[in-house]
Amino acid sequence: MNPLSDPQLQHTFTGVFRLVAPEIALVGTACVVFLFGSAFNRRWIWFTVSLLGVIAAMVLAGTVRTPMPEVLTAAPIVPDAAANFLRWVALISAAVLLFLTWPEATRGHAAEYYGSLLVAVAGVSLTGRANDLVSLFLALELISIPTYILLYLPSRSRPSQEAAAKYFLLSVLSSAVLLFGFSYLYGLTGSTNLSVITDALTKANAEALSPMALVGIVLVVAGIGFKITAVPFHFYAPDVYEGGPAGVVAMLAVLPKVAGFAALARLLGLVGADARHLPFDTATQLPLLLWILAILTMTVGNVLALLQDNVRRMLAYSGVAHGGYMLMGVVVACSLPEAAGTVIKLEGAPKVIGPTVGGIDALLVYLVAYALMTFGAFAVILYLSTPAREVGAIDDLAGLGKTHPISAGAMTVFLLSLIGLPLTAGFAGKLLLFIGTFTAPADTAAMRNLYRLLAVVAAVNSAVGAYYYLRVVGVMYLRTALTPIVGSRAVPTLMASVALAGATVFFGIYPQPLLTAARRAAPVPELPVPAVADAK
């Protein structure tokens, strides 16, 4: 029978539109904004239209039922729990960014600014649900291309143009590497569908290691490494963060990272798959590679952040370091096939207590926390910057505690959260990642005690990080400014930073809703009761 006349298959293909309705709404709104933007370029019109577009997307995301496609091996889009979690992260980020970037989307290019923003957000959301190399690549480019425009749009200064050019060139390079890796995966399995690829590689790996698959996935990791600012693919970050417009940098620091980790988790088969059968488990050495990448990334990021005198560069390197922390979650998730679990006997039947943290759930929580604090920090910088005086050097923030108590307070919350102090969202995220790494099944042939070592290195790194974050807090409160900052008086940006600070504290005090959502998106795999269940 002709496979194309299979009704289930047809249904799978036609059902795709339903699954991406919110993304269609976002891109549609963006089209309207682009189209009429040249006619009436008023900021408030396009702000309102974009906000309505985001709200419409949220309504669609909340109401449209998304059944799982019948033929998973043919479906380009999967609406699983992780995808929905990421979609909500993307949509809420969009709403925050609309408010946050208010002073930058000035008259003359407001429409292009908001339009590009919406497209990029649609790309993030799509990355979360792509189940096909083609749709995944499309989604990732959907983030990159608007970013080029955004970087170039607002200010026409030389550093900004340099930043845009650098980002463009290196991003294209990384996309090429990514595509090269994809071509290996396709060549090996004969399919672009991720479900097919994962299954085929898992089966192949069970028999013998496939070196070509590893080469392919290493290329993919390198390509995605650019998006998650893994060392040595991070070089663009400090230069671009320093030269680019603050609002765009806020977006650039968060959205590609969310998308990158989502793509990485999908490609490594860590989302939704059976945790005991992964295409790349610890036997393949890939987790070891990611382990090295994680340590390298967090250490280089932290060490270089120590030396920075510029807030934005400091935040860029700290973003690199946080990318390293988040890679811990991926490493832990790769280890789960080895998890044995301990049997405890309470009243009644013996119960297996597996690892308490699955890795990906910790990663998702950390992504949200990271988004909150990074958006927040850049929101404060943006609020304080004026075209006449950009906030750059850390010393520019001197005396902020006196002149702008609200901004200084919010900034302090974000910095404390970046350190990972208790009662902030950053602490909840870091705690989960550390617990996950510390309780990861330790004694395997490839990894031995390396997980514990990773946790220790990460802890040392966090301690180093405290130094440069606290330095900023000290400058804000203990020093007085020679020429106090005026600030842009952009109320929406201030609102955004206050709301983000509130959310950071809220999730620090009561992280349970976030944990529950992340757990639902990426459940910790259930372990079977081992055959030889020890009674005591």
Binding site: A165, K166, L173, A222, P232, L289, V300, Y510, Q512, L515
Partner: protein
Amino acid sequence: MSDPITLALVAMSLPLVACVLATVLALRKGPAAKFAHVPLVLACGTAAVLGIVVLTKVAAADSQNHRFISDPMTWFAAGHLKVSFQIVVDPISAVMLAMVTFISTWIALFASGYMHGEKGYARFFAVMSLFVFSMCGLILANNFLLLVAFWEGVGVCSYLLVGYYFEKPSAAAAARKAFLVTRLGDVGFILGIFLLWKMGGWNTSLTALFDYLTKTPPDHYELTAACLLLFCGAVGKSAQFPLYVWLPDAMEGPTPVSALIHAATMVTAGVYLLARCAPLFAMCPEAQITVAWVGGITAILAAFIGLAQHDLKRVLAYSTVSQLGYMFMALGTGGAISPVFAVTAAMFHLFTHAFFKALLFLSAGSVMHAMGGVIDMRRFGGLRKLLPVTHLTFLCGAASLAALPLFSGFWSKDMVLESLEFAAEGEKYTGGYFVLLLVGLVTAFMTAFYTFRAYLLTFWGPERIPEEAGHHAHESPARMTVPLMVLAVGAVAVGIAIEPFNHKFSHFLNDAPTLQQAFAASKAPEPPPHKFNWTLAGVGTAASLFGLSLALVMYRNGTEKLPALVEPVFAASRNKLYVDEIYGAAFVKPGGVLAFLSAAFDGFLDAVARLISAVPRVLGWWVRPVQNGLVQFYALSMALGLTVLLSFVAFRIAR
């Protein structure tokens, strides 16, 4: 809406609302700050009414179910550790809730007069609201970690309140001392909680933990250790020997704070904790006799120190420590006798003590108000004409504290002594409990003596007024005297109204499920039907009257002239039995040496740390040139990085 849980939650959150309102007023700094007391008084008043409604509802509940537990709301969970926000309303917590909010209402009203015109008026009421809120939370919490959160909240608020006059060095030092000394006990408390968590099937919920532990009895020694660790927390918070030293110093705070901390809240938290954990303590007689002995030592020691203090508030502070010792003595008998009776005796004494001690402190505050802030009894005297209302109310409180017959304190103290007497006739540690009974009687004598010494020195003899009071020393305004009168009625009558004839109080507490659980776990004999023990009451009354008459003989002139014979005794008492000096020599001095050594070692470590911390910087300087801003170099690095990754994989696989 009207179930006890909702009412209790509302009663608990009202002070929080008051705190927010008062904070807003404190920040606005306008004339509005003058009304900062209004939210607290209203909130406490409403909460007290709700508390009494809760009390009646719990009493009226059908006989099987006197406990209401709210639906748990997960606060946080990680692995086995699950902490939920859950409150419990049972007879014990209902009594405490009603009592705390009721007393707080009057103290708040009194404070609005007492603190009038002080700097930071609104700040005072904001913190005091938070204090009441924390205390209500502590009472209602049905989860150990939630309880700790509120327990620490109470600690922080007391730090802020004792250090209210933070510009005064002695006040700042007292606040620090109060906080740090209680922290010492808290360390044990938290260790105990985690030990229980581990033993109790990974439960942190109080009720679930008790159910689990009474059903599957754990290792006896482990449980004893856990109980003693919990008791450490109570020793710190309730100022028992050897950690009682912070409480007298805490008198540096404004007087309403002393009343709040020493009567209704904070110090009773330790007693309450042990009452709540009665099922655990009932299973360990060793822990119980320790509790009783600590209580006994504290009672007699504090009473002795109280004999010769010149500072009126300090006399009252030591009497508080001593009375808390009584409560712990009673609690410590649980197990040897029915825990139901032991806890009832302790809670009853706590209840009456709250009334008369709040009254005494507020009266002392009223005296202080009139005397321009002077509280040294050597500098004033004969104030009964000048302050008629204060005089009478203080007399009521003093009579109750001295346990003169028919006053509230008499009935509760009698019950405490009775529990000790039962325990002395029991099976285990009978000799110990008998000695403790004697300790209780001697303490009763000393209590009566120092209470009336303070009363006579303050209100009798020739009228003396210090110059700080100026020429306008006068009785306090109505919003201060009305709370005094209300509390005086309580100090006189609340005891006789609820216990000796109708046994309302003991019947009510008798229904508490945890107490029944404790009774079942303790293997104690069924208590004999309650009869008034005339012999014991007679001996107790004789001790009190002896103390009273001795005070009358010695201080009838309202001045202190000591016969040479007792001078050394009084010197020892006045110098607090040199306990502070002993602590100084035993802990603080060696501590200083240790601190010096530590500092030297720290300097060494610091140097090492500096050396280590230089490493990232050196590393950074070394790596930094790589970030040279050339895009072609960046691309090259990426390509090289990719090559390294690929060759790594190739190498590992080939091996």
